[in-house]
Symmetry: D2
Subunit: 387 residues, 4 copies
C-alpha cells in the first residue's frame, strides 16, 4: 500500500509531503521533480505570484545516491516569500496579533465553512491551508510516482480541451503528439487555432475582472490489464481515480472515457468490441469509449479521464458577501489574481492519477523493490500473452 500525506500553509515555511510504501531501487532525480513543479506554475492567465514562487523541491529522506530506499520519501518545497510572513504565520505565541485577522469570507472558497467548522475567529487559519498552493507538493509526490511508472513504460499526459466554453474538436492525435503539443502550448492545448481563441477569452475575462475555468484530460498509456477490482465497492480503480481528481481544488466534475456522452448514446455505440491481435498476442479494442475501465478494472486500453474546473473564485469583480462576525455585507474582490489555472490543474491531475496508478501497480505486483516488481510484472505479462 502506497500512501501520502501533505502538510504546509500557503505562505508558511513550505510545503511538505511524505510518500510511504514506495519500492526501493527506483531512480529518483530531483531535476525531474522540479521540472514538474515548473510545469504546474506556467500557463497563460496566471497571476504574478507564480513568478515569485519558482518552486524547488528538496528530498529530505528516502532517496540515496539517486535511488529510492524503500523508506518514506519526504519532499520539502520551501516558500520563497516566507520572510514576509515569518511573524504573521509564526508558530510562536509571541507573534500573536502581528497581522490583522480576516473575517470576511469569499464566495467559492473554504473560508466560511472552514471558519465555522474549526471554530476559528480568523479566516486566515483556513485559507492558508485550503489554497491550491498545496497542489505543488502533490505534483512533487506525483512526479516520484511517475518515475516508478516510467519503469513499466506507463506515461501520464494531460492537455486542456476547453477553457471558458471554447473547446477543441476531438482530433485523432497520437499520444506523443498530444504530449509534445501540450508541452509546447502556453495553455497546454494541442490545437494552435483553438489556443488563440482561448487566449482571447482569457484576455476578455481579465479585462472584465472575471475568471474562467475549463476542462482538462488525463491520458495514461500502457496500463496492464487488471488493476483495480470488481469485487468490492472501494477497490474499483475508476472510483479511486475519481476521488483523486475530485480532491483537487476547484474540480466540479469527472468523466471517464466518453463520460456524460455515454448517457446520450445507444449501448451498441458505447461498448468497445473485443478483438484479438494474434501477432502481438493481445486482446484489443478499435474504440475506447470505456476510457480504459470495465468492471472497476483497467482493461488494457489507455486510461482517459476528464475533469471540469470551476473558474478561480478570487475575482477583481466584486461578489457579495457578509462579514462572518459583524454580519455586515461587503464586496469581495482582489486587486489582481490568476484569471485561469486550468493548465496547472491538468498537471496536478497527472500527479494524483500517477499516485493512484502507482498504488494499484504496487498492490498487484508487490512493492518492495523495483526488481521484484519487474520480475512479477514480467511474469504476469508473459501469462497474459499465453492465455
Amino acid at each position: 500500500m502506497l500512501r501520502y500525506l501533505t502538510a504546509g500553509e500557503s505562505h508558511g515555511q513550505g510545503l511538505i509531503g511524505i510518500l510511504d510504501g514506495f519500492p526501493a531501487g527506483v531512480k529518483i532525480l530531483v531535476e525531474y521533480i522540479n521540472k514538474n513543479l515548473v510545469r504546474r506554475q506556467v500557463g497563460y492567465g496566471r497571476g504574478s505570484r507564480m513568478l515569485i514562487e519558482n518552486d524547488k523541491a528538496e528530498i529530505l529522506s528516502g532517496v540515496r545516491w539517486g535511488r529510492s530506499l524503500g523508506s518514506p520519501i519526504c519532499l520539502l518545497i520551501k516558500n520563497r516569500d516566507w520572510h514576509n510572513w515569518e511573524k504573521g504565520l509564526s508558530a510562536l505565541p509571541e507573534h500573536e496579533g502581528s497581522i490583522s485577522s480576516v473575517t470576511r469570507p469569499r464566495p467559492g472558497h473554504a473560508d466560511l465553512a472552514g471558519l465555522i467548522k474549526y471554530g476559528h475567529n480568523d479566516i486566515r487559519n483556513i485559507l492558508e491551508r485550503a489554497s491550491a498552493r498545496e497542489t505543488a507538493i502533490r505534483v512533487g509526490i506525483g512526479a516520484v510516482c511517475k518515475l516508478l511508472l516510467k519503469e513499466f513504460n506507463i506515461e501520464i499526459i494531460s492537455h486542456v480541451i476547453e477553457i471558458g466554453g471554447v473547446g477543441i474538436n476531438r482530433m485523432r492525435l497520437k499520444l506523443d503528439e498530444i504530449h509534445t503539443k501540450a508541452e509546447a502550448s502556453v495553455l497546454r492545448c494541442v490545437d494552435k487555432s483553438i489556443e488563440k481563441k482561448m487566449i482571447k477569452r482569457i484576455d476578455s475575462a481579465k479585462r472584465e475582472g472575471d475568471s474562467l475555468g475549463g476542462v482538462f484530460e488525463i491520458i495514461v498509456t500502457n496500463p496492464p490489464i487488471g488493476l483495480g477490482s470488481h469485487t468490492q465497492w472501494d477497490r474499483k480503480i475508476n472510483a479511486r481515480l475519481s476521488n483523486a481528481i475530485m480532491s483537487i481544488q476547484a474540480i466540479k466534475g469527472v468523466e471517464i472515457g466518453v463520460g456524460f456522452e455515454a448517457a446520450r448514446r445507444f449501448g451498441s455505440d458505447v461498448h468497445d468490441e473485443i478483438f484479438y491481435d494474434k501477432r502481438d498476442k493481445r486482446f484489443y479494442r478499435k474504440t475506447n469509449n470505456s476510457g480504459g475501465f470495465e468492471g472497476g478494472m483497467t482493461n488494457g486500453e489507455d486510461i482517459i479521464i476528464r475533469a471540469a474546473m470551476k473558474p478561480i473564485p478570487t475575482l477583481m469583480k466584486p461578489l457579495n458577501s457578509v462579514d462572518a462576525f459583524t454580519k455586515k455585507p461587503f464586496k469581495a474582490s482582489v486587486e489582481r489574481s490568476d484569471v485561469c489555472a486550468v493548465p496547472a490543474a491538468g498537471v496536478v491531475g497527472e500527479a494524483v492519477v500517477a499516485f493512484e496508478i502507482a498504488n494499484a501497480m504496487i498492490e498487484k505486483f508487490g512493492g518492495d523493490s523495483l526488481s521484484e516488481m519487474k520480475r512479477n510484472y514480467n511474469g504476469y505479462m508473459k501469462y497474459v500473452r499465453g492465455i
Copy 2:
C-alpha cells in the same frame, strides 16, 4: 468511522452486507429497508428478472427490538432462484462441472479483465460478482444510513434528469415536490411530458435490441455546515462522494453542483454569493452552483450530485467479441435484458451517498449512540447560530 463490506454472487445464495460502526439507539425497521429494495427494482425498461427477485432483507445482527445496538449490522438478501443454481454455484467440489463454463467475454463488462486478472478459466467466476445485482445489498446498507440521517432531518432524494439524450429542463421545484413526483413516475422523472419522451426512446431502443443510459441527480437536504475537510486530500467529502458514486456499476461521470457547466461560465456567474438571514441566524446563498461544497466541506446548502450512467452492456443487438481461449470471434448478444436501468441506479446513488454522509456525521459528531450524536449536533448547531 463507519464502514461496510458486501459479499455475494448474483445467482448465489444471497447478498450479504456488514455495516460496522453504526451508532446505537437508531430506529431500524426492516420494512423501510425493504421499501428501498423495491424502489431499486422497479422502473420502466427493466427486464423480467426484477420480478423474480422481489428482494427482502433479513437483519441478522446489530438490531434488537427495532433499535440499533452499536454492534455490526448484518443484512442478508436471499436470492429467490438459488434452487436453480445450487449446483452450478455450489461451494462444494463435488459439483464441479455441473454447468458449462463461460469463455466468451462480453464488451462493456468485467468479463475479460476479470478473467485475466484472477487467472480463471470460466467467466462465470467474474460475472457473478461483477453484476449490478450487488447494488441491492448496498441499497439495504444505505437504507440503514438514511434512517440515521432522518434523525437529523437530512433527506436524500434522487430523480432521473436524462435518458438516452432526452433531458428535463431545470425546473424550480421544491424538494418534496421532486421527491413526490419522482416516486410517482415509472422513470423517477419529475416532468410528465419528458417522461413520455423518455419512454418512447426506451421503446425504440428495445425494438432495436439496443440499450440506453442516462443521468440521475441526487439531492441531500439540510446537511450541517462543515462535513468533510479542506485539510488533507482524502478528507474532502465531495471527493469521497465522487468515489462512492463512481463505484456504482456503469457510472462514467460525476458532477457536483453546476459541474461541467462551471467550465463554461465566468467566475462571477458561478460562485455563490454569501448572505445572512438575521431571523434564522444563518448564512445562506441565493444560488447553489457549488452543489453544497466549498473547500471540500459542506457549506450548509443542499448537496447536488449528478451521475452519468452508460447504457446496459448486455444487448440483444450483437457486438463483436472473441473467445478468451480459442480467440475465435463471435457475436455477443442475449435474448432479452434490461433496456435501461437509470432510475434504479439513482436509488443506488441515494444509498451510497447516504453512507458517506452518515460516515461524515459520525466523524464530526461522534457516533456511539444516537442520543450522544444529537447532543453533540445540537451543541454545534447552537454554536453555529451564535457566531
Copy 3:
C-alpha cells in the same frame, strides 16, 4: 490488502464474517473450516454450552466448486439455540420487552463500560456482542487463511504452556511433535504429566467456583524472510500480530520470542547469531530468541508468540458489583460456566495470526490468484537463494 469484518450476537441468529481480498484459486473445503471450529470448542474445563453449539460453517459466497473466486468470502455459523431467543433478540420492535433487561454489570466484562458508552439501558445489548462466542467466526475466517498459507508450506500451531500457574518446561520438541501432542491433549498441552497437574488445578478451581487463565503459544513455521517492514510504525508485522492477539477476548499480555525474559538477559545472550548454510543456500540461526522478527520483519525463522489469558470472568463464586441504575450492591455469580478456556483461545490465536500472515503474504507477493502468488513467491525465493 486482505481484511475482514465479523457480525453477530452470541445468542442471535448466527455469526457472520466477510473476508475481502482473498486470492482466487485456493482450495477451500468447508470440512476443514468445521474441523477448526470444533477444535475451538473442545478442551477440558469448558461448560456445557459448547456441546449445544457444535458449530458448522456455511460458505455463503466467494467459493465455487471448492475453489476461492477472488470475490469476498462470507461465512455463516448459525446458532443452534436461536429458537430459544427468537423474541428476546428479535430485530422487530413488536418483541420489545419479551425478556427482562439486565442492569447488573459483571466485573471483568464489557458490561459496564459498554452500557455507558453506547447509552443503553439493558446490558444484554452489550454482552451479546462482547461475548467470546464471536471468536467462532474468527476461527472460520482464520481457517480460510490457513488454507492459503498451506499452499506455501506455512503451518500455524498452538499449544498451551501454562494454566493457573502450572507450566511446562521448555522441551526441545520438533514442530510436528508439538502439533501432534497438542491435538491429542484435552488441554492442548504437549507434556502429559503437566497436563495432569493442569487438570487437577482446573478441578480444584471448579470446586471453588473459581476460574483460571493461562498462557498459550503460537508457532508459525516456514515464513519467508521479509514480511512486514521496518519503514513505518504501522507496517511492523510483530506489532500487527500483537494487535491481532490482543484483540482476542481476555488476553492481557503478548510476548514475541523470549519476550519478557529478554528484559532479564544480557544482549549477548539474546541476539541470534547469523550463520549460512551453503548446501541449502540459506542464512539461519542456531537460536531463535527473536521469535522470528528483526526490525519489524520476519527473518526467516519460525514465528513464536505467546499470550496470557486472564481467567474467565463469569464465576460461580460471587464478586461484588452494583446495579448500573439503582446503584444497589449485589453479588455477581452464575450457576455454571466454563472454568478455563485457554486451549480454545490458542485456537483463536492461530486464526488471527493466520489472517495477519496471509495479509502480509498478499501484500508482498500480490494477491489476485494463487498461481500468480506462487509465481511471485517462487521468483523471490529463487532470488533469496541466489544472494
Copy 4:
C-alpha cells in the same frame, strides 16, 4: 481520525513527522515538545551520540501563534551531524560511492531481513531507517498529542520497573509521586535503592562489553469510560495500544494490567469488583488488575501498560555473523554504544500511547476544534454522572 507518518534516516538531514486530523485551537508550545525530546535522550547507560544530538523540533506547519490550526502539523528535527553525512547519504546520484557500503549484517537488527526484502546491496540503506533514532520524531508527535490530552486532564507517565533482571517491588505510590520520582531519576526509576542496583548492573554490563534491556510501565490517568469498542476486532483500544507499543524498536512483550500474572491467579483474584461512589457519582474499583480495560474499552480506571525491551543489539562483545554476499563469517562488534536505553524507550512509550488515546478521544468526541471536543466531552461526562 488522527493519523501520522514519519520519515527520515538516522544520519540524514533530519526526521520529519506529519500529524493529520488534529483539532484546532489546542495550545502547542515548541518548548514542551523539546522538553520531551530531551527526556528521550537522557538516561544512565546511553552512549555519546545522545549528547551530539540534543534534539530540537521545528514546527513547519499546522500551528499559528501557539495554537493548532486543524491543518496537518509537521515537525522537523534536524540532525546536527548532517554535515558529516552530506555526501554519504545524499539524494544525488553524483555522490554514489562516496562512502563504502555495509555488507555485514548485525544480529538483532533489521539488517539482514531488510537487505533481502528490499533487494539492496548496502545494509546502510536499511539500518539508517530501522534505527531507533526514528523514535525521536514519534516523541515529538506524541508531545503534541499529550497537549491535547492535558486539556482533558489526562496525563501520561512512564517509569522503569526493571533493568537486566533487577526490578522494583510494587509500591503503592501516588501517580504524581511516580512522575516526580521518575523524572528525578537517571533511570526513570522511582526506587532510589533499586536504581543503585540497576546502575551497578549497567556498569557491569558495560565492562563486559554487553548490553541490557528491561521493563517500563506507562500509566494514563483519568481516561473517560468508553474509549475503544468491543464491537469489532480492530476497534479494541487495548489491542491498538499493544500495536503501538510493539511498534517501538526492540520491544518484545506487552502487558496490560496484571498481564502475564493474570494467567497465574484465580478469577476471583483478578476481576476488579465494581463499586459506586455516591458523592462523586461515579463507578469505581478498589483494584485495577484489568489495567483500565474491559471488553476492549476503557473502564474509567487508570490505564496501565508494561513493555519488555530487549537489550540493545549493538554490542562491544562480538557476535557471530556472516557477510551477506561473500558469506564469510565475521565477528559483529562496535567500539562503543549505548548499554541500556530502557528509560528512553519508556518516553517513546508515552508518546505512542498518547497518540492512540488522542485518536480514541477524537473518535468519541469529534475532533474539529478543542472547544467542540470539550463541549461534547462535558456533555458526555454529565450524562455519565447522571446514569
